[in-house]
């Protein structure tokens, strides 16, 4: 996040002093403290306010969730320790597998579609004139700042079978046969909800890729052109490989967003119809706050957290940033 500030802070120091600053930083790294460091407890005055509030209201609940997941608890009676029984039960739970399967399908809409659309749009937009590019960039990014819960409510109306604009449009252009009850249809509900996620993320992906493309040395494209490369060839052989760091980041953020998905699906379908859009977080909500099976629900939540960590690790290991080129 600090990349923008990096530039502004560097700009503050005139070029002549920059090497001095660098050496000062190097010495600072050898000794742990800086010139502002003091011995004694004074340092803790800066650390503790934030740390304590974090510990009490975030970290303790995280640890407690681990503990609760090892118990049988209805929220009222004393929790009964049952060891790993919730997890054992979970791995034999058909609905949990349905939820995981749905989540896997959602990944197509949360990651693959926005990534491909975003990278193609970025390739086009990078050639558009500055002014038009800024307008389009502002436009494409707009959904990303919206509350997904409210977007879910808006799209539920847009998809409404009786008076929703989407079906009215289909009827108006002669595609009345396709005017389905989107969110009530077992086959189409998942793509219908997924399309909203794609709509939400593609602009963000586009902007990230656009930023990455500005880093590519334009002379590479000129050289390729001189060598007779077609536009699609320079896209696949220059643009795409250079964007690997951005692709990694976009994958990371969108895969995690899909595992965490709750707001959008909750407001659009509540996981229905049937289990057609059930995902682990919705299942966790149903188990905990509707069926009062808090221990079991916590186990679902912990598996979700483990998946997030696994994705982080997998993407980090599989797509290790290449230090040489960066």
């Amino acid at each position: 996040m600090a990349a923008t500030e990096h530039n502004s802070a560097e700009a503050l120091s005139p070029p002549a002093t920059r090497s001095m600053a660098a050496s000062a930083r190097r010495t600072r790294r050898r000794e742990p403290a800086s010139i502002l460091d003091r011995a004694g407890g004074g340092n803790l005055l800066y650390l503790l306010p934030g740390l304590l509030i974090y510990a009490v209201f975030v970290f303790v609940p995280i640890v407690a969730a681990l503990v609760v997941s090892l118990t049988d608890w209805n929220g009222l009676a004393t929790p009964v320790f049952v060891g790993l029984r919730n997890y054992v039960e979970l791995f034999a739970d058909g609905r949990f597998y349905t939820a995981l399967g749905n989540n896997a399908q959602f990944i197509i809409f949360y990651c693959a579609v926005p990534l491909i659309v975003g990278i193609c749009l970025a390739a086009i937009i990078s050639a558009v004139k500055q002014r038009e590019r800024l307008v389009l960039r502002t436009l494409f990014f707009l959904p990303y700042i919206m509350p997904t819960a409210v977007l879910g409510i808006i799209f539920q109306w847009l998809y409404n079978p009786a008076f929703g604009p989407f079906n009215q449009f289909l009827k108006a252009v002669g595609l009345g046969k396709l005017a389905l009850p989107w969110l009530g249809d077992f086959t189409f509900v998942l793509p219908a909800v997924g399309a909203v996620a794609s709509w939400y993320f593609f602009g963000f992906c586009m902007v990230v890729f656009l930023t990455g493309m500005q880093r590519i040395d334009p002379s590479l494209f000129d050289a390729a052109k001189v060598d007779g490369a077609k536009a699609w060839q320079s896209f696949f052989y220059i643009t795409l490989p250079s964007l690997l760091p951005e692709i990694r980041v976009v994958l990371l953020l969108t895969v995690i967003a899909s595992i965490k998905s709750f707001d959008l699906i909750f407001t659009m379908t509540r996981g229905g119809p049937g289990n057609a859009t059930l995902v682990p977080n919705i299942y966790m909500y149903q188990l905990g706050f509707q069926l009062n099976r808090f221990g079991y629900a916590a186990a679902v939540a912990i598996i979700g957290a483990i998946l997030v960590f696994a994705v982080n690790a997998a993407i980090y290991l599989l797509m290790r940033p290449e230090r040489k080129t960066a």
Partner: protein, 278 residues
Amino acid sequence: MAARSSALSGPALPFRVVLWIFGFITIVPFGLLLLTSIKSKPDLLKGAFVLPAYPHFENYLNAWVDGHFSTYFMNSVLVVVPVVLVSTVLGLLTGFAFAYLSFPLKRTIFILLTIGMMVPTEAFIIPLYYEMLYLNLINTYWVLVIVQIAMSVPFSTLFMASAMQQIPGEILEAAVLDGAQRPQVLRRVIVPLLLPAVSTLALFLFIWTWNEFLLPLILVNDDSLRTLPIGMLFFQGKYTINTPVLTAGAVIVIAPLVVVYLIFQRKFIEGLTAGATK
């Protein structure tokens, strides 16, 4: 496609058409939302894309008064303002500690903070609910404010610390040699230098808090304490049929976001994508 970036001409027309089609897809839901929010119910029956005879701004009044959006809006503001202020200050303090000071278990504490940034809220919402029940904080403003602040500590800290590490050491040395105490260095030297970073952080905190859904859904069930996204959800449950008022409510929720976004869009886009590409 990209090869043309260095050429004088822009992309071929079909490509630009594709671009604007996607732009259109992005804006259409918002356009329909605005259009429907000024229709009457009879207007709505004439078709989703038909303009109303005259604008029915009373939908906004209905949402604001009968739909309790005035309360929800007020609650959102009452939660967002303290969260942004306190989280920014805490981020500066904790970030200062991580950037410049030594303290025991620094690495371990750093890792614990990172864990808090990665674990989804859903994973610990159940124990959090019971902790708040035990502390008698369920159904209060406090619970929304405190938990949101606590959840923003890891990001604010890392964001501020990495910004502070970019400040040239000799500036701080000069300040210390001039006899400034640490609080003064932080307030008079570091904060002014980091104003761009601080305001970016404040923007993020504003948008995250304004959009937060799960926390108020679980931790508050009194209608008079609901924030906008939750209020919207329950309003939808009650008035499913009254689409014009529902859409007017949605406009009330997103209008402040759009205004802030349009004013600060460079900061938003560059801040968010810089974080992504770091």
